[in-house]
Symmetry: C3
Subunit: 155 residues, 3 copies
């Protein structure tokens, strides 16, 4: 499964990064009761948040799409490192909090950046999911999007 | 159970609508590991968000109550369509994000619009739940409230 | 386990308070499917929110740390009252919504107030957790932080 994930990422020009390290007293992934709870992920590349500021102001919808994809890539990196893809039964729900400007309303288009990556890379049965999305005022490191994901493990 | 739900809704002058369709690459309800994760629901009626703007500014607390009730009705519509009420062991926690104006603080009264509907229609054992509520700056389609629900299925 | 928790709290100068009562039609803790869903907790002491306003404006990061700790203490009070510590297999993920001012960015330091309490008091295996954190515009009662927690029970 890791090889399949790596190959599918490579076909999109992506590689699985090292997972971002926790910035406080918490686990990046907590596995308990057959569920993997992933801590909120940001559009980090090599320890830097690469998409900052408000969608519809400093950033475009296309930037947001790529930022959401990066968050999803970091979720996959955490799962690869702490759980292993072969243990995943399915993604449950993803939740996105975005920094947005007045009048901007491309929430679903942006979050499709994450949804498409999960479905393409994990496959439809494992990667499909419910989701929720919100516009907030401030996020750590001025990241334009924060993605929370939860996955169910095989029994 | 569907008949009971329908009768209880009718007693309140409500009918189960067609469930709103997803506006992106996600499932309206994701069932995995014995849990139904419902995607965030808005106060949609016939494909239109009917409560828009800020509570305490464009909208009153009473509007918010009815908006929360509509979100809950759409959760029920999704459950009816994708899962079936007879499979539900219980509602877990509901989470509400609301557009609010400075100084307005009727969060719990508004969310009771959803809580009451769930308890009245699903019955106390199935419909009771924990909850959380937040005031945010922006929501898709300028909807005044966004409701996220998760339900546990019978083994 | 309750004695252990009480002793560990006492070592920090804390005692388990009476759990805050629900302010609407919901349960403070909903137990279903082997999971305890705790309703959102605020920095209440004796029925009063004692930390109000924005971090980085009315309140300091140190205030925020203590506010997060108080929220965590109230989560423990709810678990003690409605579930019992001996039934807890592990904390899953905690989520914090904070009122913050422009330019303030000590989110992780503040939430460590909750994370440290959970780990110190419940022990590393039970108390460790994933987490997520967001900056929002408004919270009920102008509370500076709102903490949502979910715990898995022993089979």
């Amino acid at each position: 499964m890791t090889d399949t994930v790596a190959a599918r990422l490579a076909a999109r020009g992506l590689t699985l990064p090292d997972p971002p390290k926790p910035g406080g007293m918490y686990d990046s992934v907590r596995v308990v009761g057959g569920v993997a709870y992933v801590s909120v992920q940001f559009p980090f590349v090599d320890g830097e948040v690469v998409f900052r500021g408000r969608l519809g102001h400093e950033l475009t919808t296309e930037d947001g799409y790529r930022a959401a994809e990066l968050c999803a890539l970091n979720v996959l990196a955490q799962i690869n490192h702490y759980v292993g893809f072969e243990r995943i039964l399915g993604l449950n729900r993803i939740e996105a909090h975005m920094l947005t400007a007045d009048g901007w309303d491309d929430f679903p288009k942006v979050l499709d950046g994450a949804s498409r990556l999960f479905i393409d890379v994990l496959g439809d049965e494992v990667g499909r999911h419910a989701r929720a999305l919100f516009g907030v005022e401030r996020l750590p490191l001025d990241a334009t999007i924060a993605l929370t994901a939860t996955l169910t493990l095989r029994p």
